[in-house]
C-alpha cells in the first residue's frame, strides 16, 4: 500500500474499526441465544475501548490539519479529541444500557449505537457540506429509532416520533442553507466556501440568510433556544441511557460541527453573528434554568439543565478565541462525564424502583449510599462546585469570555449558575434530607452499571483536581484555529 493511501486511511481509521465492530455485533447477535446476548454489551464496550486505544496509537494528526478523501474529511486534533469523547460516551452508554429491560439483550441497540457513533465521528471531522449532511443523517436516523426503542411504551414512541419529526424538519432547513451556499459559490468544500466569502464581494444579507438556516439545524443538535423544546419530551420518553447519550455525545458532535462551520465560514463576514449567538446563549441558560426549577421528573429536569449547559458552552463559543475553543472542548469533556453519571444513576434507580419522579428519590442516601454519592458528585459538578470537573470547566468558559471583554454575558452566566445550583440542590435535598418508608430496601447495582458509575465519578474528580493534562489536550484541539 502506498503511503498516501495509508495516510488517507488514518483519517477514517476509527470509523472503519467501528464498522468492523458492527459486523462482529451482528454476527454474534445471530449466533447467540437470547440469554447470551447481554454479552453483546461487553463485546461492544471492549471493542470501543480497543478502538480508542488503537486510534490513539495509530492516528497522528498535524497541528494545522490535513484534508483527505477529496477534501471531504479533515484529520486534525479537534476532530480526534471529539472522536475520543464520542467513543467514550458510547462505551459508557453501552454499559448503562446492558441491564435495561427490552434494550440490553437486543443486538439492534448496540448496532444502532455504533452506527450513530460513526455518524458523529464523521460530523467531528467533516470538511465538506455534503459529507457533513450525510454524517448528520447517519447520526440522527439511528438515534430516532433508539429514542423510540421501547415500542410497547407510549412515551418512548412519542419520544421517537417527536425526535424524528423535528430532526427531519430542521435537517431540511439546514440543507436548504447548504444548497444556497453551493448555489452562490459553486463548491461544497468548507475551504473553498470560506475563501469565496472572504474575497468575493457577497451580499451580507444573503450570507446572514444562510447562517440562520444552517443555525437552525445546529441549534437542534445542541438543543438551544429556540430549538430546545424537543429535548424534555424526548429525554423523558427515550430509554434513559439513550437520553444520556443524546445529551452528551450527540451534543458534543453538534458543537464540533458548529465550531467548524461557523468559525471556518463566517469568521470574516460583515454581520455580527457573535451577538446573535450571545442572545441565544442568554435565552438558553435562562430558559433552561428557570424551567428546570419547577420540574418534578428528574429526566425532564436534566433535559432543561442540558439546555442551560449548552448556553454556558456558547459563552465560550462567542469568545472566538483559542481560549474559547479550549474551554468548549474542556467543558464538553467534563459535561460528558458528569451528565452520563447523572443519567447513569437515574437509569439504575428507575430500573429497580420504576419511577423517574424526583420525590421517589427520598431516602436514597440511606438506601443506597454509593448511588446517592454518585448523584451528589454529578449534580455538584453540574452546579460547578470544586473539586469536580464542572467547576474548572465553568471557570474557563467564563474566563474566555471575560478575556474578550464580554462582561455582560459572563454576569448573566454567573447569575444563571446560581439558579442552577438551586434546583440541583433541590434534588440533593430529596436524596439526602428526606426520609422514606422504603429506605431500608436494598437497591442492587449490576456490575456493568457499577463500573460505569465508578469510572465516571473518578473521572469527574480527576478532571476537577488534576485538570492539567485535560486542559492541555483541549489546548491541542484549539491549536489549529485562528
Amino acid at each position: 500500500m502506498s503511503a498516501e493511501l495509508l495516510d488517507s486511511l488514518q483519517a477514517i481509521f476509527p470509523e472503519i474499526m467501528v464498522l468492523i465492530l458492527i459486523g462482529l455485533v451482528l454476527l454474534f447477535d445471530a449466533l447467540w441465544t437470547e440469554e447470551q446476548r447481554r454479552n453483546l454489551g461487553w463485546l461492544t464496550f471492549g471493542g470501543i475501548l480497543l478502538i480508542m486505544a488503537a486510534t490513539l496509537a495509530v492516528v497522528h494528526p498535524t497541528q494545522q490539519g490535513t484534508l483527505y478523501w477529496g477534501r471531504m474529511v479533515s484529520l486534525d486534533w479537534t476532530g480526534l479529541l471529539f472522536k475520543m469523547l464520542i467513543l467514550f460516551g458510547a462505551a459508557i452508554t453501552v454499559l448503562l444500557g446492558m441491564d435495561v429491560e427490552n434494550l440490553g439483550k437486543k443486538g439492534e441497540f448496540y448496532t444502532l449505537m455504533l452506527v450513530s457513533v460513526i455518524g458523529m465521528m464523521l460530523m467531528a471531522s467533516a470538511y465538506d457540506l455534503v459529507m457533513l449532511f450525510l454524517a448528520i443523517e447517519t447520526t440522527s436516523i439511528p438515534l430516532y429509532i433508539l429514542a423510540g426503542f421501547m415500542h410497547g411504551d407510549d412515551k418512548s414512541t412519542e419520544s421517537g416520533f417527536k425526535y424524528l419529526f423535528f430532526g427531519a424538519l430542521t435537517s431540511a432547513i439546514m440543507l436548504y442553507g447548504f444548497s444556497i451556499l453551493f448555489g452562490i459559490v459553486g463548491s461544497t468544500n468548507l475551504y473553498d466556501l470560506s475563501m469565496a466569502m472572504q474575497f468575493k464581494n457577497m451580499s451580507p444579507a444573503l450570507l446572514l440568510g444562510t447562517f440562520l438556516l444552517i443555525l437552525v439545524g445546529f441549534s437542534f443538535k445542541i438543543s438551544v433556544v429556540p430549538l430546545h423544546f424537543w429535548a424534555p419530551d424526548v429525554y423523558e420518553g427515550a430509554p434513559t441511557p439513550v437520553a444520556g447519550y443524546l445529551s452528551t455525545a450527540s451534543k458534543a458532535a453538534g458543537f464540533a460541527v458548529l465550531m467548524r462551520v461557523v468559525y471556518t465560514l463566517y469568521s470574516q463576514v460583515g454581520f455580527n453573528w457573535a451577538l446573535l449567538i450571545s442572545v441565544i446563549a442568554v435565552f438558553s441558560m435562562t430558559l433552561g434554568n428557570f424551567l428546570a426549577l419547577t420540574q418534578k421528573n428528574i429526566k425532564r429536569l436534566l433535559a432543561y439543565s442540558s439546555i442551560a449547559h449548552a448556553g454556558y458552552i456558547l459563552i465560550g463559543f462567542v469568545a472566538v478565541s483559542q481560549l474559547g475553543i479550549t474551554s468548549i472542548v474542556f467543558y464538553l469533556g467534563a459535561y460528558l462525564l458528569t451528565n452520563l453519571a447523572a443519567f447513569g444513576a437515574v437509569t439504575i434507580f428507575s430500573r429497580i424502583v420504576g419511577s423517574d419522579e424526583i420525590s421517589a428519590y427520598a431516602g436514597l442516601s440511606r438506601r443506597a449510599p454509593v448511588l446517592a454519592f454518585a448523584m451528589l458528585v454529578s449534580f455538584l459538578s453540574l452546579a460547578g462546585m470544586p473539586p469536580l470537573g464542572g467547576f474548572v470547566a465553568k471557570i474557563w468558559v467564563f474566563a474566555a469570555a471575560l478575556k474578550e471583554g464580554i462582561l455582560w454575558l459572563v454576569v448573566i452566566g454567573v447569575l444563571n449558575s446560581i439558579v442552577g445550583l438551586y434546583y440541583y440542590l433541590r434534588v440533593l435535598n430529596v436524596i439526602y434530607h428526606h426520609r422514606s418508608d422504603t429506605e431500608n430496601q436494598p437497591l442492587p447495582i449490576s456490575t456493568p452499571n457499577a463500573i460505569a458509575l465508578i469510572v465516571l465519578s473518578i473521572g469527574i474528580v480527576l478532571v476537577g483536581v488534576f485538570f492539567a493534562p485535560f486542559f492541555n489536550w483541549s489546548v491541542l484541539a484549539a491549536s489549529g484555529w485562528f
Binding site: S365, P369, F398, V411, V414, I418, L425, L428, N429, F471
Partner: protein, 494 residues
C-alpha cells in the same frame, strides 16, 4: 527539601474523610476513633507550625509550590504568614473539639465525620493559599459540605430552609468574587505580561487606581458575605440555629473567619487602592453589624439565636478593624478572628450540651444548670467574659486595639461601636443568669445530668486558649503584628 507540613495539615482531614468513607457504616467506634486520631494529628501539626513560625523574619514561610496548570499560571502554592498561622491553629482546635463534642452522634457518624473533614480540608486550604485559583477551589469545598451537614443532622424545624439559604448566599458571594478575580487575572496579564494566579505576583501587578476602585467592592463584598457583613448576614444566625453543635462551632468559629480572611487577602491586599477608596462605607456597614447585631442578640429568646447574633456583632468588629486600614485596627481584627473563633466555638458547644438534655433552647424555660453541669457553666462564663472584652481574657487583647484603631479613623466610630460592649455585657449576663442560675424547672431536674468527660476535655481545652492569650498576649500579638506589617506595606504605609 523540608517536610511539607502545610500540605500535611491540609490533606490530613481529606485523607481521613476518604478512610472513614471506606469503613463500614455500622463500625461507629472505629469511625470515631479514626476521626479523633486525624483531628489530633492535624492539631499537633498546626501547633508545631504555629510555634515554628519565625516572627523575626516575618513574611510567608513554609512555602510549597507545585505546578498545577503552568500554562495558565495556576499552581498549588501554599505558605503562612502572621495572620494565617493563628487561623490554621484555630481550625485545628475547633476540629478536634468538634470531634469530641460529636462523639455521641449516632445517626450515620460515618457520613457526618467525612463531610465535616472535607469541610476542614477546604478551610485549611483557604487559609494557606497563596494562589488565587487555589483559594477559590478550597473556598467552595469549605462551603458546600455545610449544606449536607445542616440538612441531615440539623434541628428538624428549619434545617432544609437554613441549609438552602446558607448555601445560596455563600455561593452567590463566591461567584461575585470570582468574576472580580478573573478580571484581576486578565488585567495582570496586561501589566505583568503573563497569566498568573500567584497572589504574591498579583500584589505587584500595579493595577491602575480606577481598576482597583471598580472591582474592589465586588471582590470584598463577595467574600464578606461569608464574614456575615450587614446586610448579608442573616443566613448566618439561621444557619447556626439549624446546625448540629459541631457544625455550629465550625460555622461560627472558623467559616466566618474564612470570609473575613479572604476579603482581606484578596480584596484589601490585592486591591489596596480600591480599599482606601471604599473603606468608609465598609466601616459603616461593619458598624451596623457591631451595634445592630448586639441589640438583636439581646432581644432573642432562643439561646442559640443569642449566640448567633453575637457572632454577627463580633464579626462586625473584625470587619471594622480591617476597615480602619491602620495598624492597631488590623492587629485587633487579626486577634479577634482567633479569639472569637475559639470563644464562639465554646459558646456553641455549651449551648449544644444544654439543648441535648433540656430539648429546648428557650431561655425562659431554662434555669439552674450550674448545679448539674458546673464545668459547662464555668467555661461558658469564661467565654462570656471574653465576649465582653474583659481584661485578662483574649477578648480584651483583641477588641482593645480595634477600638484604638477605630478612634484613629474617627472618634465617633469608636464611640458608637463601644455601645455594643454594654449591650453585649447585658445579654451575656442575662443568659448566664437565666440559664445557669436560678432554679431548674421541676420537669427538667429529674433527667438532667452532668456532661461527659470528653465534653469537659473539649470545653477546657477551648478555655485554655482564651485565658492563655489573655494572660500572656505575647503568644500571639507579635505574630499577628508581623502579618499586619505586610498589609501596611501593600497599603503604602497608610
Amino acid at each position: 527539601m523540608q517536610f511539607p507540613i502545610i500540605s500535611f495539615i491540609v490533606f490530613t482531614p481529606a485523607a481521613a474523610a476518604a478512610i472513614i468513607f471506606m469503613l463500614p457504616g455500622e463500625r461507629k467506634t472505629e469511625i470515631r476513633v479514626t476521626a479523633l486520631a486525624a483531628a489530633a494529628f492535624a492539631l499537633i501539626l498546626s501547633l508545631w507550625l504555629y510555634f515554628s513560625y519565625n516572627i523575626a523574619s516575618g513574611g510567608y514561610q513554609f512555602k510549597e509550590q507545585y505546578n498545577w496548570l503552568p500554562s495558565m499560571g495556576i499552581s498549588y502554592f501554599v505558605g503562612i504568614d502572621g495572620l494565617s498561622a493563628p487561623l490554621v491553629l484555630l481550625t485545628g482546635i475547633v476540629m478536634l473539639t468538634g470531634v469530641l463534642i460529636s462523639w455521641k452522634l449516632d445517626d450515620r457518624p460515618r457520613e457526618f465525620f467525612a463531610f465535616l473533614f472535607i469541610l476542614a480540608t477546604g478551610v485549611f486550604g483557604v487559609f494557606v493559599s497563596l494562589d488565587l485559583f487555589m483559594l477559590f477551589f478550597f473556598y467552595e469545598i469549605a462551603v458546600f459540605p455545610m449544606y449536607l451537614l445542616i440538612g441531615i443532622w440539623g434541628s428538624k424545624e428549619t434545617r432544609e430552609y437554613a441549609a438552602m439559604k446558607l448555601t445560596l448566599y455563600l455561593f452567590i458571594g463566591s461567584v461575585v468574587s470570582l468574576v472580580g478575580a478573573l478580571a484581576m487575572y486578565f488585567q495582570a496579564d496586561a501589566t505583568l505580561g503573563k497569566l498568573t494566579f500567584n497572589m504574591l505576583e498579583l500584589e505587584k501587578a500595579g493595577f491602575s487606581v480606577s481598576f482597583q476602585q471598580l472591582w474592589f467592592p465586588f471582590v470584598f463584598m463577595g467574600f464578606a458575605v461569608l464574614g456575615g457583613i450587614f446586610p448579608f448576614h442573616n443566613w448566618s444566625p439561621d444557619g447556626h440555629v439549624a446546625a448540629p453543635t459541631a457544625v455550629s462551632m465550625f460555622h461560627a468559629g472558623v467559616l466566618m473567619k474564612l470570609g473575613a480572611f479572604a476579603a482581606l487577602r484578596v480584596g484589601v491586599m490585592l486591591l489596596p487602592e480600591g480599599a482606601k477608596a471604599h473603606m468608609w462605607w465598609i466601616i459603616l456597614l461593619a458598624l451596623v453589624n457591631v451595634v445592630y447585631g448586639a441589640f438583636i442578640a439581646s432581644v432573642q429568646k432562643d439561646f442559640k439565636y443569642v449566640i448567633g447574633f453575637s457572632s454577627v456583632s463580633h464579626m462586625g468588629l473584625v470587619m471594622l478593624g480591617f476597615a480602619t486600614l491602620n495598624k492597631d485596627g488590623m492587629m485587633g481584627a487579626g486577634l479577634q478572628m482567633f479569639s472569637h473563633g475559639v470563644m464562639t466555638a465554646l459558646f456553641f458547644a455549651v449551648v449544644g450540651m444544654v439543648y441535648d438534655q433540656a430539648h429546648t433552647r428557650e431561655i425562659p424555660k431554662l434555669g439552674g444548670f450550674a448545679q448539674k453541669m458546673p464545668w459547662a457553666m464555668v467555661c461558658f462564663v469564661i467565654a462570656g467574659l471574653v465576649s465582653m472584652g474583659m481584661p485578662g481574657f483574649s477578648g480584651f487583647i483583641a477588641e482593645f486595639p480595634i477600638f484604638m484603631g477605630a478612634w484613629q479613623a474617627s472618634s465617633w466610630i469608636a464611640i458608637i461601636a463601644a455601645v455594643s460592649i454594654v449591650v453585649t455585657a447585658s445579654y451575656i449576663i442575662r443568659v448566664i443568669r437565666n440559664v445557669f442560675f436560678g432554679t431548674m424547672p421541676a420537669e427538667m431536674a429529674s433527667h438532667i445530668h452532668d456532661i461527659s468527660t470528653l465534653d469537659k476535655v473539649a470545653l477546657v481545652s477551648l478555655s485554655i486558649f482564651l485565658v492563655g492569650i489573655g494572660i500572656y498576649p505575647s503568644l500571639m500579638v507579635p505574630m499577628v503584628e508581623s502579618g499586619v506589617q505586610n498589609i501596611l506595606r501593600l497599603l503604602g504605609g497608610a
